[in-house]
């Protein structure tokens, strides 16, 4: 069974934010009012972390897409009191919305701050509701949610493969963010497959994983920027 993982090449990433928008739409992540977002209640399964250092004009600004890194040894699933978040059969960290009691312990335990909480009920206007993605369930207030690597796409891909009577191929399944990226900065695939693009990339000298020292074994790799030699 493939071990799905992602490699994000920060040297290619332009920080355009297409992944952020794509993720939000694909997964029916709720929008919050201006007032709520002022109070830090904005919801993103994938967001850009921006670090700026230095002074004008040499200001160095690093933009890093931040999403669930799908730990193989997740600190969040350990602490869940009701088994509402767990390491699924696809080795993806999953959430069970109807079971979550909203204690937010998993959020406190996540070293990557990628889990988001529904502080209030989503307010979809009738029109907006009609264009929501039917493959992704809506979340009510009071539960925790997060990036699923677009798990619903994996499900569909499996079904298609089955209908086609062939094994699931790596190319069958891509999360929305990877697919949309206009700079091809994100690569997705099977980390266990010796020859898959991801496993080739992750062997690069530039590859690193966030908070690696914590032993969480993330499945999302970042390729550091190569600074030009002039």
């Amino acid at each position: 069974m493939p071990r799905w993982g992602m490699v994000i090449d920060l040297d290619r990433c332009t920080g355009c934010g297409a992944c952020v928008a794509a993720c939000k739409v694909e997964n029916n992540v709720q929008f919050v009012s201006a007032a709520e977002s002022e109070r830090g209640r904005r919801m993103h399964w994938l967001r850009l972390l921006v670090e700026s250092t230095g002074t004008y004009p040499e200001a160095e600004i690093r933009i890093v897409p931040n999403l669930c890194v799908m730990c193989d040894n997740p600190p969040c699933t350990k602490v869940c009191p009701v088994h509402a978040t767990y390491l699924g059969e696809d080795r993806l960290v999953a959430q069970i919305y109807p079971r979550c009691i909203g204690c937010r312990y998993c959020m406190a335990a996540c070293p990557y701050s990628v889990k988001v909480f529904n502080w209030s009920d989503p307010r979809w206007s009738a029109e907006t509701r009609s264009i929501l993605n039917p493959d992704v369930s809506l979340r009510p207030k009071g539960v925790v949610e997060k990036c699923t690597f677009c798990h619903h796409r994996l499900q569909a891909a499996k079904e298609v493969a089955r209908a086609d009577q062939r094994p699931l191929r790596e190319a069958d399944y891509q999360p929305a963010c990877v697919q949309i990226c206009p700079a091809d900065a994100m690569t997705f695939g099977d980390l266990d497959d010796e020859f898959s693009p991801v496993s080739q990339l992750r062997r690069s000298a530039r590859a690193m994983r966030p908070q690696e020292h914590l032993g969480t074994e993330p499945k999302v790799y970042y390729l550091q920027r190569r600074d030009a030699h002039v």
């Binding site: 920080g15 934010g17 928008a21 929008f31 201006a34 004009p57 079904e159 086609d164």
Partner: protein, 814 residues
């Protein structure tokens, strides 16, 4: 409860997936399942379909696929088989569906009740509305003054523009005013190469892109195509090295990713470009072969026309020594040299320029300087340099022959023509429209049709434009919502979204290869909305002969295939079918090979619809010769004599040749340009306007998605902000997140402060696109509109608005 098990549901979905993916055996099975499903229960589980189309939220027009489940649009993604966007999209692209179902869309034609701008409307039928317009148009013709009919249009789709032109010609009005960016670039090329259509930069094939304020990854050019090209440049396998350099005052998102970044004072890009030329000359990096063969005016020897009868070479060396340039631009000497050397040592460098520098006080000079730099580098008429913009072989009816009335009308001056007239190479001066209408010179308009532009919000001098509209007896607005401009109209027609309508789209921004995208409806038009083209046809028919004869009998959609037939008969190109096939196309083209395609034009049309785009391969014209129009000496001009003549004519006295590169306001001194810094005393800060790829110029700012992502890099949502340098902030006792007053001679705004070292200490920057008053429930009252700070000043040379002003900050104590 429907009786279909989840298992079954999945099969249907899967079947659909396969049907689309492989089109294989599963299709019939799928249909069978749907059949029995239908029989069983009215509420069917999703059967999905993908419709390839184009995103039209910005002029770029990326290829998209709309996902339909049971005929309802529920998703949208990039179309991989589109050779330009290759499956990529910018964030704005994701907002398409939300715009489609926006609750405040105009649903029926509306007629104004009560005074203008009152926002009171009564519902009318299309017939009533169109008839009302047609009547006044007929009257205009019968009165023999058809020129009193004006159309103000965004003009980012070629075919629509041509139909507008054709009908306007038949009707007899010269006043088709298309508002697409600053005209300086176009004009400068017209002088330098004597060519109406400016060439485009072949970025994908150049190894070093020098960007003068050109926001590669944001809103300039074709952001997605540029990002894709960048992605290829930076492929992990590609060797590291300098591939992009950015020159500009603001550390923009594109600047961040550039390998080299040179900060210059606002409006001094031209000086830097000339300085670079100077160093290239000093270090003998000039592409002599090109310059000798293809240009004139470079050396002092050949009949020089430069200042004091000098060649461009010595002009630059004398006036733009590295020290001078460093002083003018504020860039350090070794920055400049570093840049020049990378430039000189690259194989296929190219210099491009963004809208911001071209919209400054001396857009013309900036454009000229950057063209000159490209000429010096020989970056014209070669791969990876400037090549001819594509004009795909779409069939279009022969131009109509205007009748007597029309001829008289056409001979009239354009209503937007400034006085004194602008440079002859400049066609459009939309920025002048308001002033002219108010002054009544050259004459007033009786009927004004506005489509796709929102001047009251997006142009400087909103108030003036409102007053100008008041002088027009009949104002008709066509659009998806009643925006700030439409609010002042007498009639509003509901325009269908791009997901509901047809279009064949050659890239509006020009791409270095022939390409046509197919925009086709994913859903039937909601409510009573229609495509703008159909409305136009209907209107023309109602006006009666000879105008009616100018349009086809059917709908726009019915006519399109015949336009596409041109592509088929041209015998060139292929129907796009996969990512990255540009190289393949190039390879085949150069060998005169060609992939087997459909046999009949009908089959061709069907195949084209299925794939979503047609790729004509690399530009036909790639040699300098083919880029030159009917030029006097068949060379690119460093000192275009026509430019000099026009400029002198325009200013009434002969102007120094140097002005071609230094602008009317003369050479910049250490403090920047005189014009720009008139108020430097009480308004010490330069206001830089920029666009974000979520808001564009406000075009997309009506959807919740874009509004929430308005400042996603700044951790700001549903709001605008003003970027302030830490020192400046400290001096004004402003801390991050404060509300500050930004004041200019023209107005003042209250806005959130964003303190970051990404703007120079003597400038502040604000995003355009927010601060709407009437743009749907989501956008209203969100953020502020920086254009309110701008006086409506027009560049007399180009007739376009100058987007620059000096401001000051006042911190607000709460």
């Amino acid at each position: 409860m429907n009786t279909i098990s989840r298992r079954h549901f999945i099969e249907v979905l899967a079947g659909a997936g396969v049907a689309v993916a492989s089109g294989g055996w599963a299709t019939d099975r799928l249909l069978a399942m749907v059949e029995e499903g239908t029989l069983r229960s009215p509420r069917l589980p999703g059967v999905q379909r993908w419709v390839p189309s184009l995103c039209r939220l910005c002029p770029a027009g990326c290829g998209i696929r709309v996902r339909l489940v049971d005929g309802l649009p529920v998703g949208l993604e990039g179309n991989r088989s589109d050779p330009v966007s290759a499956g990529g999209l910018c964030p704005a692209g994701l907002a398409g569906l939300q715009e489609l179902v926006h609750p405040d869309r105009v649903r029926t034609p509306l007629r104004r009740d009560g005074p203008r701008g009152s926002g009171k409307w009564s519902v009318i039928s299309w017939d009533e509305g169109l008839e009302e317009v047609a009547i006044s148009l007929r009257i205009l013709r019968s009165q023999g003054r058809p020129e009193a009919f004006g159309v103000l249009e965004r003009g980012d789709s070629e075919l629509t523009r041509r139909w507008l032109q054709r009908v306007m010609r038949a009707f007899g009005s010269p006043n088709l005013i298309t508002a697409s960016g600053p005209s300086s670039w176009r004009a400068a090329w017209a002088y330098a190469a004597d060519r109406s259509l400016p060439p485009v930069a072949d970025l994908a094939n150049s190894d070093f892109i020098l960007s003068f304020g050109h926001e590669l990854f944001e809103t300039d050019g074709h952001p997605v195509w540029q990002s894709k090209s960048w992605g290829r440049m930076r492929a992990p396998t590609a060797p590291p090295g300098v591939s992009v350099a950015y020159v500009g005052p603001r550390v923009s998102p594109s600047a961040i990713r550039a390998d080299l970044r040179v900060a210059v004072r606002p409006g001094t890009e031209a000086a830097l470009a000339l300085g670079l030329v100077g160093i290239l000359i000093m270090e003998d990096r000039v592409d002599r072969t090109f310059v000798d063969r293809w240009t004139t005016g470079f050396y002092s020897r050949e009949e020089p026309r430069g200042p004091d009868r000098q060649g461009f070479e010595s002009f630059v060396r004398r006036r733009y020594s590295p020290e001078d340039v460093s002083r003018i631009t504020g860039a350090s000497l070794d920055e400049i040299f570093r840049l020049a050397r990378v430039l000189g040592s690259s194989q296929r460098p190219v210099a491009i320029v963004g809208r911001a520098p071209l919209s400054g006080e001396d857009g013309m000079a900036t454009a000229m300087a950057i063209i000159a730099l490209n000429l010096t580098l020989g970056a014209v008429g070669r791969p990876g340099g400037y090549v001819a913009a594509s004009t795909p072989p779409l069939d279009f009816p022969e131009p109509v022959v205007p009748d007597a009335i029309a001829r008289r009308g056409l001979s009239a001056l354009r209503v937007d023509r400034p006085d004194p007239p602008p440079l002859s190479a400049v066609g459009q001066c939309p920025a002048r429209l308001a002033a002219n209408l108010l002054s009544g010179k050259p004459y007033r308009l009786e009927v004004l049709l506005i489509h796709g532009v929102n001047p009251v919000h997006a142009w400087p001098g909103a108030k003036a434009f409102e007053d100008a509209l008041a002088t027009v007896p009949l104002v008709v607005a066509v659009g998806p919502v009643v925006d700030e401009t439409a609010r002042w109209a007498d009639l509003v027609f509901p325009e269908a979204s791009f997901l509901e309508t047809w279009q064949l789209l050659p890239p509006a921004l020009g791409l270095p290869f022939e390409y046509v995208g197919v925009q086709q409806p994913a859903v039937e038009p909601l409510y009573e909305s229609r495509s703008f083209e159909d409305m136009w046809f209907a209107l023309a028919r109602r006006v009666g002969e000879p105008v009616a004869g100018a349009v086809p009998s059917g709908t726009f959609a019915e006519w399109l295939p015949s336009a596409a037939a041109g592509l088929f008969h041209s015998g060139r190109g292929t129907i796009a079918s996969g990512v990255n096939e540009l190289r393949v196309a190039d390879f085949m083209q150069t060998r005169g090979w060609r992939a087997p395609g459909p046999k009949t034009s009908e089959a061709f049309w069907e195949a084209l619809r299925g794939a979503g785009s047609w790729l004509g391969g690399p530009p036909a014209e790639r040699s300098p010769a083919q880029l030159l129009g009917a030029s006097e000496r068949g060379r690119f001009e460093f000192w275009p004599p026509r430019f000099e003549r026009d400029a002198s004519k325009q200013s009434g006295s002969s102007i120094p040749a140097a002005a071609l590169y230094e602008g009317r306001s003369g050479r910049a001194d250490g403090n920047g340009r005189a014009g720009a810094f008139a108020h430097a005393g009480d308004y010490p800060l330069r206001l830089l306007l920029f666009d974000t790829n979520t808001l564009w110029e406000g075009r997309t700012a009506l959807t919740p998605l874009m509004l929430e992502l308005s400042g996603f890099r700044e951790d700001i949502a549903w709001d605008s902000w003003v970027e302030i340098h830490p020192e400046t902030a400290h001096r004004n006792r402003i801390s991050d997140g404060d509300r500050v007053r930004v004041e200019s001679p023209a107005g003042a705004l209250l806005v959130r402060a964003r303190i970051a070292p990404i703007v120079p200490p003597d400038a502040v920057a604000m995003p355009r696109g927010l601060g709407h008053k009437h743009f749907g429930r989501f956008a209203n009252g969100v953020g502020v509109n920086p254009l309110a700070l701008l006086p409506a000043t027009v560049d007399p040379w180009t007739g376009s608005a100058i987007l620059g002003v000096q401001v000051r900050l006042a911190s607000v104590r709460v």
